[in-house]
């Protein structure tokens, strides 16, 4: 049972990380290239991935408040990436690091024990 939930959570997280990293490479670094770090951890039934870069400060969560009920037809072409990430994982947080650069934290819950 737990394995099924974990596999699905990992697939969804992979999609969100894929989207986040692609955006950093294409938009954050452009043609210059740059460094990226990805840290994976687990905490109380949640999978946590932190993606850190040295690109110019950019907050993908800064778009207007997400409306997950928005039907596919109305997703804006440009903002489709953040909509996709929000559907795939439970929480997305952005901060600018003291050293500069961005840290994006993605959280996907998979264990049942925290459900109320």
């Amino acid at each position: 049972m737990a394995l099924g939930l974990e596999a699905a959570a990992i697939q969804d997280m992979r999609l969100a990380v894929d989207e986040a990293v692609t955006n950093i490479i294409l938009h954050g670094y452009g043609n210059d290239g740059g460094q990226l770090s990805i840290e994976v951890s687990e905490d109380r039934g949640a999978l946590i991935v932190r993606v850190r870069d040295n690109a110019p400060s950019f907050d993908p969560t800064g778009a207007p408040p997400p409306n997950l009920a928005v039907p596919l037809k109305e997703w804006p072409i440009g903002g489709a990436g953040i909509f996709l990430m929000r559907k795939a994982v439970d929480e997305i947080a952005h901060r600018v690091m003291p050293s500069g650069g961005n840290e994006l934290t993605l959280v996907k819950k998979y264990a049942a024990h925290d459900n109320h």
């Binding site: 697939q11 692609t22 596919l72």
Partner: protein, 127 residues
């Protein structure tokens, strides 16, 4: 791991004309652009019913889902609230279990029919 993608196109014109893209390989940040431009060309030449046969697709990255979304929007570009029939239709056939699950997670299945089984039945579903 191969990151190539191939598309072969077929056409079935029974009750309604349906263009089928048989896609194989990996739909990722690079290859999704090919898929998008092939779909754009088809729609520009008049395709209104497009079936994506994904049986041969081993992996679909986030870019693939964004391309799916774009293709959906292109097919529905002509649609207005009153005249829904002026829009086109997009369906997907035999995606892998992972792709099928992600389509549902993203809520795409509300707008894009996900079909399994044989090609003929999928084509007939457009009528």
């Amino acid at each position: 791991m191969s990151t190539e993608m191939k598309i072969s196109v077929s056409q079935m014109d029974d009750r309604v004309p349906v263009t089928i893209f048989h896609v194989s390989g990996s739909i990722d940040a690079n290859t999704s652009k090919d898929l998008e431009s092939r779909a754009t060309e088809a729609i520009a030449s008049g395709t209104q019913n497009l079936l994506l046969d994904l049986a041969g697709v081993s992996y679909m990255a986030s870019a693939g889902y964004r391309t799916l979304h774009k293709i959906y929007k292109m097919l529905h570009a002509g649609e207005t609230p009153q005249y829904k029939t002026s829009g086109g239709h997009l369906k997907v056939l035999n995606p892998s279990p992972e792709v099928s699950r992600t389509i549902t997670t993203l809520g795409f299945n509300a707008y894009i029919d996900v079909l399994t089984g044989d090609l003929r039945a999928a084509v007939d579903a457009f009528a």
